[in-house]
């Protein structure tokens, strides 16, 4: 327990609470804005690991929680799409220990490919969801999520947003939770083996748990009310609660800490007798729809505020009833590939060869910007392979021969491997070329390790996945490893030749990220016996 007042980011506060609560295992995949949670948890002395992707991380968490441990699983919002399969059925099985899943949403898309609202996942999967407004909430709600998870034997979603993850606010840690029993395997075949005959009663159990949680949330769930009794009454969740209090000091503002199941009757009571009832929420109108479905007449924001983050100025406009166009944001200098970045040589070649580039997610996504403009598609982690293969399969041959799949090292491990299997299993008649841009780190999110680096989250040596060996083991004969920066013209000619060779090729373009190279050298020196 760390009693003193601290200035922490939301991510750090989650980690501190997990540490104070004796969480046995943290697992996740790096993704802005969630990455710092596991890093800080490890920094505090917690046991944390990067998994190859969010699905595996959640499965690891489920296993730990089946073993009666307290487990924390972290990911960004789109990571929960990847982990959705285990999530929906873990809701049925429930857990014996505690399972807290952090979904870090990114309204406004500061660093993401979409701004999906993962509050929808809570209702879809049937798992309770807590929404912190600041770092104190992040700390308190992490502890509460563990308590709820243990009391009802159910996974709990902790829904953060970029603004909550990355803002630093003051945290006063509270008394630690009672220690859980030691991990132990207790057989529960009907509870955990989800064949249909076991899953049918499990679904009923889940609904009964949710009904119990809903009753508890109505009676004594987490909530804050500021300015009780005023005529203008606002319900706001997450960071919108803080913005709304500032934007409308004349209003009463209610923050439901647990937004699924929603404390509908408590909110009905809060609104009772109000002159005006308004719901302020980022993203989709989730709360407004839920309250209207319960017969509570509320004002929701105009459609234009579905897009992007909210802030004090936008909330003032919503309350003023304005649907007038908003002021254009100030022009900013866009990010770009660093000077000397090894990806530059690759995108120069792809541009010069007029390739049709099926791209992927990472720093190298910046290959889409001038002076390269050498990326034609970007959908989700790992899509470079499948999308490239789909285009190869259907385009006229002279276009198909220009298609190349480009994917980074960490992204390849995350979900490119199954795409490579697809390529071997359903090879296009024109062949195909996959470029794995291996810069030795997960650069985009801040230099995290991954299974291809052969080092753990805290940079210690471990098993290492070799991309070239993996590709060869799948039966791909043309596998080359090159440093594209040594001879850029030669690299370009190699790509030209492979694009049109009518065979399946993998080129691993390997050179360490410029920003990580020094650190990597240091780690490698430490690794030597």
């Amino acid at each position: 327990m760390t009693p003193q007042r601290q200035l922490l980011s939301g991510d750090e506060a989650v980690a501190l609470a997990a540490f104070d609560a004796g969480v046995r295992l943290g697992a996740g995949y790096p993704g802005t804005p969630s990455t710092e949670i596991l890093e800080y948890f490890a920094h505090l002395g917690g046991r944390a690991r990067w998994s190859p992707n969010e699905k595996v991380a959640l499965e690891v968490g489920i296993g730990a929680a089946f073993a009666r441990a307290r487990a924390l699983v972290t990911m960004k919002h789109v990571g929960l799409n990847v982990a959705a399969d285990p999530l929906f059925t873990a809701a049925y099985t429930g857990v014996s220990g505690a399972l807290v899943i952090v979904s870090a949403d990114d309204p406004g898309m500061a660093s993401s490919q979409n701004e999906q609202d993962n509050r929808r996942f809570a209702a879809a999967a049937g798992v309770p969801m807590l929404e912190p407004a600041d770092s104190q909430d992040a700390y308190d709600f992490t502890l509460l999520a563990i308590e709820v998870s243990e009391r009802w034997g159910i996974p709990v979603l902790l829904r953060m947003t970029t603004r909550v993850c990355h803002s630093k606010t003051v945290v006063r840690p509270r008394a630690a939770l009672p220690a859980p029993p030691e991990p132990d395997f207790v057989r529960d075949i009907r509870g955990r083996v989800m064949i249909p005959s076991n899953a049918r009663p499990a679904h009923r159990r889940l609904r009964a748990k949710l009904a119990g949680i809903a009753r508890w949330n109505e009676a004594e769930g987490p909530r804050r009310v500021a300015g009780e009794g005023r005529q203008l009454r606002i319900v706001a969740s997450g960071v919108a609660f803080a913005h709304a209090r500032e934007a409308a000091p004349e209003a009463a503002v209610f923050q439901p800490g647990m937004t699924y199941p929603l404390p509908v009757e408590a909110i009905r009571g809060f609104f009772d007798g109000a002159a005006r009832r308004v719901v302020i929420e980022e993203g989709d109108p989730v709360l407004a729809e839920a309250l209207r479905a319960e017969g509570i007449a509320v004002e929701a924001k105009p459609e234009m505020y579905r897009f992007g983050e909210l802030d004090v100025a936008r909330i003032r406009r919503i309350l003023a009833g304005g649907a007038a166009p908003e002021p254009a944001p100030a022009p900013v200098t866009p990010p770009r590939l660093c000077p000397g970045c090894p990806h530059r040589a690759v995108f120069e070649a792809l541009r010069d060869l007029d390739c049709i580039v099926s791209g992927d997610i990472g720093c190298y996504s910046l290959g889409v910007l001038p002076p390269f403009e050498a990326m034609d598609t970007l959908v989700c982690m790992g899509a470079a392979l499948g999308v490239g293969l789909g285009m190869r399969a259907t385009l006229p041959a002279e276009q198909a021969r220009r298609v190349v799949s480009v994917i980074g090292d960490s992204t390849f491990v995350h979900s490119g491997i199954t795409g490579l299997v697809e390529m071997v299993y359903n090879p296009p008649s024109t062949g195909h070329l996959v470029l794995i841009l291996d810069n030795g780190t997960t650069a985009m999110t801040g230099m995290q390790e991954h299974p291809g680096t052969g080092r753990t989250l805290d940079h210690r040596p471990t098993g290492k996945v070799s991309f070239e060996d993996l590709a060869r083991a799948l039966g791909i004969s043309d596998v080359l490893v090159v440093d594209p920066t040594v001879n850029p013209a030669g690299f370009r000619e190699l790509v030209r030749e492979r694009l049109d060779a009518g065979r399946l090729s993998v080129i691993v373009a390997r050179r360490n990220c410029l920003l990580a190279a020094g650190k990597i050298k240091e780690y490698e020196r430490c690794d030597e016996p």
């Binding site: 660093s111 990355h166 960071v239 803080a242």
Partner: protein, 165 residues
Amino acid sequence: MSRSVTNIVVAGLGGQGVLKASDIAAEAAFLSGHDVKKSELHGMSQRGGSVTSDVRFGAEVLSPMVPAGEADFLVVLDADQVQINLPLLRPGGRLIDPARLEGVRLASRKSLNVALLGVLSASLDIPETAWRKAIATHLPEKLHAANFAAFEAGRAAARGDGGSQ
């Protein structure tokens, strides 16, 4: 927002130390016993793009973001980023940009962010000990001496501006 909250925006390009500067300012305010919120979006902006970071402190801070046009102080690390960020400043707010350090010799350009905090510090009611502790907390020990010097140089330059030299 009541005037009891001080609003600072630090701006520049990724890699210039914007976030480090806002971390130090937030820590100094925190160590002085204020309620503090600090906010920015980091991620892709690390790659040389525009970055801003908000620091707010006072008796009670609500939103973590400084509303546009309500910044009391705008600290800009890159001369080219001044114009696009000026609308953040309130009327009568103070711009603190590299021009404020004219004639000041810094041992390293890398401590420009801390030197500008020195300029800022002259206008804030935060004890110098809190600033020094915040700098020491957020920078590796081998950089302490250079950054203490940069901070002092900025603070002295600001006081010079006030005509007390």
